[in-house]
Symmetry: C2
Subunit: 574 residues, 2 copies
Amino acid sequence: MAEKIVIIGGVAAGPKTACHAKRLMPDAEFTIIDQDSLISYGGCGIPYYVAGDVADEDELRKTSFHMTRNEDFFLTAKGVNVRTLTRATAIDRKQKCVHVEHVETGKKDSIPYDKLVITTGSKPFILPIPGANLAGVYSISDLHKAIDIKKQLATGKVGKAVVIGGGAIGLEMAEAFADLWGCDTSVLEFMPQLLPRIVDPWFSTMLVKHMESMGVDIYTDEGATEIVAGDDGRACKVITANRTLECDIVIMATGVRPRSELAEEAGLLVSPFGIVVNDRLQTSDPNIYSAGDCIEVTHMVSGQKFMAPLGSLANREGRIVGDNLAGIPTTYPGAMGSFIMKAFERCIGATGLSLESAKAAGFDADAAITVSSDRAHFFPTEAKIPLQIVFDKRTRRVLGVQGFGPMTDAVLTRIDASAALIAKEGTIDDFSLCEMAYAPPFATALDALNTAANVADNMQMGRQHNVSVPDFMDWMADQASQPDWVALDIRHPNEIDPFKQKFGDTWVPLVYNEVREKYKTLPTDKKLIIICDAGTRSYEIQIFLNSVGYTNTLVLGGGFNIIKRLEPDWWPNK
Amino acid sequence: MAEKIVIIGGVAAGPKTACHAKRLMPDAEFTIIDQDSLISYGGCGIPYYVAGDVADEDELRKTSFHMTRNEDFFLTAKGVNVRTLTRATAIDRKQKCVHVEHVETGKKDSIPYDKLVITTGSKPFILPIPGANLAGVYSISDLHKAIDIKKQLATGKVGKAVVIGGGAIGLEMAEAFADLWGCDTSVLEFMPQLLPRIVDPWFSTMLVKHMESMGVDIYTDEGATEIVAGDDGRACKVITANRTLECDIVIMATGVRPRSELAEEAGLLVSPFGIVVNDRLQTSDPNIYSAGDCIEVTHMVSGQKFMAPLGSLANREGRIVGDNLAGIPTTYPGAMGSFIMKAFERCIGATGLSLESAKAAGFDADAAITVSSDRAHFFPTEAKIPLQIVFDKRTRRVLGVQGFGPMTDAVLTRIDASAALIAKEGTIDDFSLCEMAYAPPFATALDALNTAANVADNMQMGRQHNVSVPDFMDWMADQASQPDWVALDIRHPNEIDPFKQKFGDTWVPLVYNEVREKYKTLPTDKKLIIICDAGTRSYEIQIFLNSVGYTNTLVLGGGFNIIKRLEPDWWPNK
C-alpha cells in the first residue's frame, strides 16, 4: 500500500515539503490540511500588496508561471491532495492519525498517516492591552486580513495610521501607509530601537532618521498601553506613556509566536521557541517531522536556540524534511537570520549576530564600522554604504555583518557574501580576501566588504583604536559630559567651518595631507578624536601620530558619513 | 638606520603595498619608482572614461575624497616617496640595489634596498600581424593611450571602430564606442566565443545576442590577419579570413602578458604565467616580493597556475606583501578569477571554473543551468536571471558559477556569494542551504542561487537528466541531424503556437498541469525533450513520467528562457 504522508499547514514549509517529497517518492500519498481557505501564499509580500506594488492579492498565490496555487493546482500539477478549511484538532500518535474538523460544517474526520509533518507556522502575538481586539486593529497574520486592510484604505477614510511594533513587518506596513496612501503614520516600538536583536542601535538610528525624513513618526522606547474606541466602536486612539496618537487604523506587529499547541498536546517536545527537532527536523516522535515558523532553530553562530520565522528558512527546511521522508539523510545546520528590508529609498540588511547580540551570547566581540563606495567612486551611480563587521576578538571569527544603503542590491550583495562565509566559520582573513567580482559599475577594486574586514583586522591586531559611535554621539550632544576631548577634523577646510562654528575650540581642523608637517600644533593633553569622511584616513593619521608619540588618539569609524546619518539635524543647508 | 623598501611599479599593487606597509612600519623608508609620469590610476575605469561616464581622466587618479594621487600626495599624505619617469633597468641582488634611468634625461642612478617589491604589472599582447603598429591602432595599456583615444573620438571623425579581442576590455570598449559615440562597431574574436575560459559558450552566446541587438557586430572564430593603412598612413581597414572591415580606429585588446623581464634578468624564477612566488608572495629571492599582474597565481579551484591580471587581486596581493614586509606572515590562497562585466543593459558574471575549464582541468564535472527570478515574481522590478552551477559529480563540490542578467547588482550578488562559498570548498549542499537574505524587493524565498543548487542536487543524485544546451540548439537548428526527438512543450497553449507551426510534429504540446491526466498520449519511441519556461517544471514532469514508465525523457535546463536568449530570431513579434 502507498505510504501515507500527512502535512498539517499549507502556507510555506508544508507545500514545499509535500511537493519536494512527492518528487522523491512518486508512489507515496500526500495530503496537506489547512484550516484556511487560502494556502501557499507569499506572506512576505503582504506589505507590497498593501503598498500597491502588487495589484491583486491573487498575485501572492501565483507561481512565477502565473498559475494560482489552489487545491486543484496541487492535485493536478503536483499530485498532492489538499484539504482546506480543515482544522487539525488532535494528533493520535498511537493510532497514527490526525483528527480533523471542517471549519464551516463542523464535520469531524480522522486522517491516518505513516509519517506526519507539522508545518503550522506562527501566530501573531497580540499585546495584552485594552482595545487590542477592537475593530480597526489588524495583525498581519494571513491574506484575509491583508485584503481587509487594503479595502479599508481604498475607502479613502484612513488618514492616520499607527503601527505598533518596529520590526520588519511593522516598518514595511508603515512605508505602505505613508508612501502609497499618504497616511500620517506613526510607529511605536517598546524597545529602545527598531529591529531589536537584528541590528545594533546605530543602524536602527540611521533607519529611524531616514524614515522620519520620509514623513513617518517613529517613537522608540515607547509601548502602546491602550487602544481606545471611537463612537463607531472602531479604534480611534492609541495611548502610550508619553502621548495619544489619533488613528483610523492600527497595525499590531508585535512579533509572532510558534503555533505549537497541537504538537504540545500530542506530547511532543516543545520549547518556548517552538517544536523541538533534531538536525534532520524530526520531532521527539521519529514518525513526525516539523519545519517552518513553528520549530525551534539553532543559531549557526551563537549555537543558541531561537525562533526564526522567515519564509526563506521555511522553504529550505521543507526541502530537508522532504529529503528525510524519502530516506535521504540531509541535515539542517541551523540558521543565522539573514535579513534585508526596503525602507523607502534605502535598505537595511544584516546576517549573523549584532554586536550587542554577540556580547549577550558571551563572545568577546568588537565591531568594525566603515563607510565605503558600493562601486567605483568615479562611476555615476556610486553610493556610500555603511557596513559593520562584528568579530570575535580572540578567534578572529566574523560573527555578523550589517549594512545600510540605497534601494539597490548593493547591501544585499555584501550581506549574502557574508552569510556564505559566516556559515563556513569565516574569519576576518576570509572576509579580507573574499574574491568579490570587480568592475567599476559594480564594485570597487577592494570591495566594501574587504575594506570592512581590513578595518576589523587593523582593530583586532591592535593597530586601530576606535571611539564607539554611541559614545561619540553622546559627547557631541553634550560636550560637558566629556570635557577631555577635541575633534581632529582632517577633511577639506571648507567642509569643516560649520562644525568649527558649532563646537568652537573643541573642533581642531588639520587637513589630512598636512598632518605629517604640522602635527606638532596638536594638543597633547586631550583625547584627539580623529574624524574624516569614512574612517579610513583617520586610521592612517592615528598610525602616524602614534609613530611620533601621540598616543592620545581615537578614530571615529565611518567618520562623518555616519554622523550625518545619525544626526542629520546638525547639518547646515540640509 | 631606517629599513629601505623599494617598489618597482606604481599603478595598483605597488602603491597598495607601499601604503599598507608604511602604516605597519612607520619608520621604514619607502620608494616607488615608475617609468610613467602618471601613477596609481584606476585602469579598469578606462572604458568608462572613453564612454563618458567618467568625464575627466583625472577622476581615475583621484581618491574617493577627491585628492589626485600624484607624487606629492604620496609624500605628504602617505609618507611614501615616488620617483616617476624613472625606469628600472636592472636589479643587482648581490649589492641589493636597483639600477634606474630617468626616461627623459637619461640620467642613471642606483637605489639601494633592504627589501624589494616588483609590481611591474602586465603589458598588452600585440598581435604579430601587418599593420599592428599603425597610427590609429591602440592598446588599452595606460592612461595616455586612453586620453589619445578620447581625443580622437572628440574630433568627430571616428565613425567606424574595430575591436580586436572579445575579452572584457575589448567588449567594454566596444560598448563605449557604440553607445556614447555612435560608432559602427565590430568585435573580432579569434576563439569560437567571447570571454573564452571565463564563461561557457552558451553564456557567451547570450552576450553576443544582446550586444548585437544593441548594434555591435560580433565575429567569433575570426581573427584579424592584417591592418591596412589609408593614404594618411592611419589604419583604415582590418582584414580577416572572411571579410574586410573599414575603420577609423582599431582597439587591440588581445590580452596581456606579465611584465617579468626585469625579474627574469635578475635571475628570479619566472614561468610563462609570471614571476613565481610562494604563498607569502616572496619570489625565489627571499628579499624580493612580487604582486599584481606580473605574478603567477594559483587557481583556488583547479590548483593550476595561471595569470590573473585583475585590479581587485592586485590590491589584495599588495596588502599581503605589506603584511609580510612587516613580519606578519599572511598568506595568499590564490585566486578564482571572480568576474563581472556591464554590457549595455545587461551584465555577465562568473567565478571559479566554467564547465569547459573544469573538464579541461580533469574534473568529472557537470553544470546545472536554471533561470530564476532575481526577486519576488510579483515585485515590479523582477527580472529573470540565467544562473549556472558547475559541480564535481563525485564530490559534489561546486567548481564555478556563471550568471547573466539585467544591469543591476542581481548577478553580482549571486557571484559574490558563490565566490565566498567556493573559496571554502563549498558543496552543492552549502549552496542549497546558503542563507541568502530575503524580502520580496530583493530576492525570492528560495534564492536563485539556492534553486540552482537544488537543480545541481537533482542532477548529481541522478534524478534529473538533461539535454545539453548546445546539443538541443543544434537539433533545433537542424532537425535532420537528430530525428529521434520530439519537444514536449508544457507551457501555456498560447505560448506554443509559433513553435508548433515552425516545428510541426516535432513539437508536442501538453500543458503542465494536464500531464498526469493525459500522459498516455505521449510518444514512447522518441526522446522527449521536456521544455518549460525555466526548467523547473520540466524536472517535475520528468520525475512523474519516469514514475509511470516513461524513461525516454530529457530536460532542457533553463527552458525557453535560455532558448530565447540564444536564438532571439526564432521568436515571433520580437
